[in-house]
Symmetry: C2
Subunit: 349 residues, 2 copies
């Protein structure tokens, strides 16, 4: 720590200080923020080098790259914070190709006046999530905007990973006859955020399902190697994700409402809030579409994983020139489950 003492006139006032414009200057104050806050929590050999990029060896193969901007409000919520979410959100997009995530990059846009103590909690949340996932944040950037030109903290994370040989997963690969699975209960994240935003209290606290799904994906792929599609139903919820996949694959889907796992507390909260759980965002669930003969194996593999205990087969892919998602309701009727129209839950991720 001697080098720090010598280099900066005093230590960064994390306990009661605030982000100011100089932290985005690229000069001494930026260097101190990076060294005493970001690097202290996210520390690893690549990040510590202090170059404007990270360098690492990669094997030949198929790489995936994905980026996600996180603007969730509030920044702290039951079950997580924007830092952890920014890790999970991007890792999951990488994992949905079947890839093993390798590295993350993180870009922070901070609002002048934001408490450094809150920023530290967020960076610590990011660090804990990255460590738990085994995927380091190896490069980053920080910018500061004037008070009133941002909203506390926005984080954009980008991830890369490698797809194992033989795995061929894409949104356009669903085929009539395929089974549709979901890895657990839906709606938890969106309802947790809404409840926290509206200061609603329920009998049970509903917490976000925010989690990194790459180990679940690896386990399911081990049991069902011919998976056609994987996607995490985030913004727009399960309904929108199924419609996206139906459209990309030029197929229809039939799902059964009774088969879709939804927690009782989430169901009640949705009724109170006027939300349909089908359209509510998730951050730790995935939709899996695979050939019917592998569905049982995929389901068993999901249920054997800590993040897939309540997995279920919820329907099947059908031929349909209109690419409709149709649902058999719990009352025995049929309805078309459309794309999310308008905005149901702003800034949910």
């Amino acid at each position: 720590m001697t080098s720090v003492e010598k280099r900066f006139p005093g230590r960064l006032p994390i306990r009661d200080g605030k982000v100011d414009m100089s932290h985005g200057s690229g000069g001494r104050a930026s260097a101190q923020l990076i060294e005493e806050l970001f690097l202290r929590h996210l520390d690893n050999d690549l990040l510590r080098r202090g170059d404007d990029s990270a360098q690492f060896g990669v094997p030949a193969g198929r790489m995936v790259m994905s980026t996600d901007c996180h603007v969730i409000s509030p920044l702290f919520f039951p079950g997580g914070d924007i830092g952890a979410l920014a890790v999970h959100g991007t890792l999951n997009d990488v994992a949905m190709s079947g890839a093993t995530p390798l590295y993350l990059a993180a870009g922070f846009i901070l609002e002048e006046g934001f408490p450094l103590a809150d920023l530290e909690r967020i960076v610590a949340g990011m660090a804990a999530a990255a460590t738990a996932a085994g995927v380091p944040v190896v490069t980053g950037d920080t910018k500061v905007v004037e008070k009133g030109k941002g909203d506390g903290v926005f984080i954009t994370t980008t991830g890369i990973g490698m797809v194992p040989p033989g795995v061929e997963i894409a949104g356009d690969r669903a085929r009539p006859g395929d089974a549709i699975l979901v890895s657990g209960t839906i709606g938890d994240h969106g309802v947790a955020i809404m409840s926290s935003r509206e200061n609603l209290e329920f009998d049970t606290t509903i917490t976000s399902d925010s989690a990194a799904l790459h180990t679940l994906v690896a386990q399911v792929l081990g049991a069902a190697p011919d998976i056609h599609c994987l996607r995490d139903p985030t913004r727009g919820g399960l309904a929108t994700t199924l419609n996206e996949l139906a459209r990309q694959s030029r197929v229809g889907m039939r799902i059964r409402e009774s088969g879709i796992p939804v927690r009782g507390a989430v169901k009640s909260a949705c009724e109170l809030l006027g939300l349909d759980p089908l359209y509510v965002a998730n951050e730790g669930k995935l939709v899996c579409i695979c050939p019917a003969p592998q569905a049982a194996a995929a389901l068993a593999a999901m249920r054997a994983h800590p993040l897939g205990g309540e997995a279920a087969v919820i329907g099947e892919v059908v031929e349909d020139p209109h690419h409709f998602v149709q649902m058999e309701t719990t009352f025995g009727g049929q309805r078309i489950v459309d794309w999310l129209a308008g905005e149901q839950l702003p800034r949910i991720c």
Copy 2:
């Protein structure tokens, strides 16, 4: 275009419409914004697939990854716009390791109410810069925040590239005796932004030097393969970049003020604005540190490139336990060139 007509009730009102919260919903409006605006300009096979990640083959080797948040104000400025800048800024960070850039990811944070026509200009600017550089934007994300919670458009870009065998460039590799070169005039970008912000008129319009430097890097590496350090002096300017490199490499530096290229108009504007060109941001220049015997070849290679016509050798690396950057002034004196302290030019990139 038939599929578009069928899918969305009407076309996106680019001419007179505005970004609204539904464009960040992940539902139908988001899909339309992506399809009719982003995809139309940035179109390529990987982006068009519509998955949440892009997939591509990579050879075995050393990869670099870099990310940069762009919050520049104003969004349009003499010599560029935030879209082009977001391409150049990240490509340059990748190129400063000697790497050949391969792919870009782009994340947009839009403020509710931002004119779609302006967004289109920005995306077109990004597309033109990416095409000119030969590096496609292969994956992206768009979020929308409420009016007053952002500032028009923020763009975070992430780039990856591969380092050619034998190239070993890093901030900690400067050695006493090495030559220090700069690829051209300094201060153009920062002064262009400040002039545009303050509505200042000079005899000559000063334009940003915003440019992608990877072809310049390749040309210089061809002539001087043992380059030790490359860095683009963006925020904090040349002074801060040299201090960063001195600190990382645990050396000192001696530079000559008379050798540093600065345009006359930039010099005058800096006097008027009370700025020191050494601390003013650049977006199309690089600092190169190489063994003295290769300096002449590096300089000739720079000067032979369209972006390096005014390149110059500006000093040399020395031993110095204090890691000071010292400058021989035009008046023959000596002064220490310190890190940028405080904030000189907020939101310059």
